[in-house]
Amino acid sequence: MTSIAISKPVHPRARDQLRFITCGSVDDGKSTLIGRLLHDSKMIYQDQLAAVKRDSIRHGSADIDFALLVDGLEAEREQGITIDVAYRFFTTSRRSFMVADTPGHEQYTRNMATGASNAQLAIILIDARKGALVQTRRHSFICSLLGIRHVVLAVNKIDLVAYSKVAFDRSVASYLAFAAGLGFSSIVPIPISARHGDNVVDRSAHTKWYNGPCLIEHLESVDIQSDTASQAFRFPVQWVNRPDPDFRGYAGSVASGRISAGDDVVVAASGRTTRIKRIVTQDGDLVHAEAGDAVTITLEDQIDIGRGDLLSRPTERPSVADQFAAYLIWMDSDPLAPGRNYILRIGSQTVAGSVTAIRYRIDVNTCEHLAAETLSLNEIAFCNVATALPAAFDPYDVNRKTGSFIVIDRFTNRTVGAGMIAFPLRRATNVSWRAPSVGRSERAALKHQRPCVVWFTGLSGAGKSTIANLVDQKLLAMSRHAMLLDGDDLRNGLNADLGFSKAERVENIRRAGQVAKLMLDSGLIVICSFISPYRSERDMVRSLIGKDEFVEVFVDTPIEECARRDPKGLYSKAKAGEIKNFTGIDASYEAPIRPEIHLRTTEQTPEQAAEVVIAAVMARTLLCDERR
């Protein structure tokens, strides 16, 4: 919200802007249609048109190929397909338009969702010869999910079916049957030929049987009801403005609603209330601010507010919860791992979070609900999401700005998912943490030791269990209270229900981390031995335990050496294809970047390695002994 992008200047003639997307399958003619709209609304300059004429001849077409006006990137010009979202602008006397040209083929559906996220209307193209295709349905569903309520069904290439009313009616009927359940408030079917311009800017003489508006007439007049100013007031704090000790302002853009100086406001997360003192701009203070205004607010009381806080009226508060249900579109080639720790961006709030459960996956072609353990690129699911701290939000269908979020992978930093919040889950308030009257330090003091978690990670056969066992024995000999948690042992009991898929490995480590934490709290030195192949899960455990109590031990053994040792005969089975998802063979291992202890088993005996670990653990304990 409160964006990096500056909103458009307010025009003296108050021309409003319609943002729309075009979507459809490959070769339905999206780029051609946009090129046609730009050309016929006189937005193409002579020099651009001349360049396209030259290019059309080079690409082998005799007429002007309007798609060449909009297909910007070299690669797609060669392949003849659009591979990314392109934004185009044109203006008529009645409205200005921003068009997102979104790709049709399957692997780029994430771009379509991107284009739809900021659009108020969708033009869905279908080929009059083919009718609604699987892709068409997928795109319509995404438009609906992203909150688009107005659809133009452009039945294109009507010239190729001899301007037939029968073909048009058939296409429309097939589409309406599917779109009935998608909640669009208007669907306007128009027969067009993007190539020849029929019913685009001017009504066509070839379709006398059609009495509706041509495309541009409809786009100019459709009522998009984007009156966000009448909604509940929401102000996400983007930046704290403190030029000097006397001024403390909160900068941001009003996401929805309006506010006046003197009005009461509440900080969503803390529940603290105060009053608007001034609405500051460089051109002087304002009395009111409303949706879209970028302002700096000062408050009557000095209360703790930072970037990410959301201001509202006390009478119209957003939800504040650390769990919610949401629709999630997965946008990355690495699948979603439930339980894995991701970064969520909800408005200007950035919080750690994870998908705790996939309630169901949605087949976009049939709208069927399917069971799923993970989500792959372009898949959509209804999920439960948990955040590390309570977040403030609204349901997406009430407020697109405060109800949307993106999911970022901690390590690749890629945007891997996009979500739309459906409702808060109240469980957070029902299960509150008991503040323990006897804590970790009291229990640890009884044992005269400083508890910690020693986490061994490495390939199967690297020597983790061997070294961990030695460490356990040595600690016992030194009268230290330790407990060994071994991956294989846990998989026989607590985790007996889990297999070895990526999602199940994540859950395996999540449970192990939770058990380790309970043991840590009871004052024990917890020795954990898990392959734990993913960096993000190890880091999740690290943040769960606390970095001061977490000792990551990387048992570094080259895979050739592990395979040679093969203590459990697993490598030979994996190579023979008898075991799937075997780390190092057909599942990846992400080595620690900066482990607390790095053991190289080809250079050290297990005995030496165990001594290194003991020395590190005792260094911590001794430190604790001295303090007492």
Binding site: I4, P12, L73, A75, R88, T91, K401
Partner: protein
């Protein structure tokens, strides 16, 4: 813009002295008021800019009290690179693209705000608002992060950087209308005046100083001209115009039949030339 100031360690605003930069700067000042700009301006000077641009730049920095960093690729100067003998492609590569990379690395900037717009050119239309650049400042159009709603993913690793196009969704006409509304000062070269010019390959070039070599049959002629886009003077084509005020310019814009980049000699070198430059790190 505030997002950039809040999320990045060392942001900078690229200031090209053009109309878009003027608008961007004006908005930045407003966005952070009453605080001062929390980042410096960076001008990559090719040493071939119009003299009026340089004096306007210095006057603007002084008037607004902002920190201005001017960077020149001294290595390029030493190699004698210039737009006349080296050709526009090499000159742009060395004195703009390479110079920008040098400056970003020299000062350790991790986010560079610029005024580029999606309506300028075809490959720009697909640009993100937050455009991710790998450690070598390389733009990979196939590996850009999806941008939904106004939720931006600002996470980068050390050495990587972000180019931020805050005015992506503005059009040329929007820019002029905003300049008119907010009375933003711009370089006088945008307004028509009698100026010494020569015609070459159908383009009108202003003779800004003695460095422009004249052919024996060329004598500079006074013409009533203005510029729609400003760059290095030997590479910027003027248009004949009588638009001497901002109102005239807006009126002229509404009836324009050629694109603004037509006057830019760097785009016409070869098809898809802008995309190539961008992949190499051009802004």
């Amino acid at each position: 813009m505030r997002e950039v100031a809040a999320e990045f360690k060392r942001p900078v605003m690229l200031y090209s002295i053009g109309k878009d930069s003027s608008v961007l700067l004006h908005i930045a000042i407003k966005a952070f008021y009453p605080a001062k700009l929390p980042f410096p301006l960076l001008h990559v000077d090719t040493t071939w800019k119009f003299r009026e641009m340089i004096s306007f730049r210095d006057a603007t920095a002084k008037r607004l009290g902002v920190e201005l960093i001017v960077h020149v690729n001294e290595e390029g100067i030493a190699r004698g690179i210039n737009p006349i003998d080296s050709g526009s492609a090499l000159h742009t590569q060395v004195m703009k693209t390479d110079a920008l990379k040098q400056a970003l690395e020299l000062y350790g900037f991790d986010a560079a705000l610029g005024g580029a717009r999606r309506d300028e050119e075809k490959s720009r239309a697909k640009e993100r608002i937050l455009s991710f650049r790998s450690a070598g400042h390389v733009w990979d159009p196939r590996n850009q992060r999806p941008e939904l709603w106004s939720l931006f993913n600002t996470r980068i690793r050390t050495g990587e950087s972000m180019r931020v196009f805050a005015m992506s969704n503005w059009t040329e006409l929007d820019v002029w209308e905003y300049i008119m509304l907010e009375k933003i000062p711009v370089v006088p070269l945008y307004f028509a005046k009698q100026r010494p010019t020569v015609r070459r390959n159908g383009t009108t070039i202003m003779v800004d100083d003695r460095r422009l070599p004249l052919n024996c049959d060329e004598t500079p002629q006074m013409r009533m001209i203005r510029f729609r886009t400003l760059g290095c003077y030997p590479l910027s084509g003027a248009i004949e115009s009588d638009a001497t005020t901002i109102e005239d310019v807006v009126a002229e814009m509404q009836t324009a039949s050629v694109s603004e980049r037509q006057g830019r000699l760097i785009d016409t070198d070869e098809a898809a030339s802008m995309e190539k430059k961008k992949r190499e790190g051009y802004f």
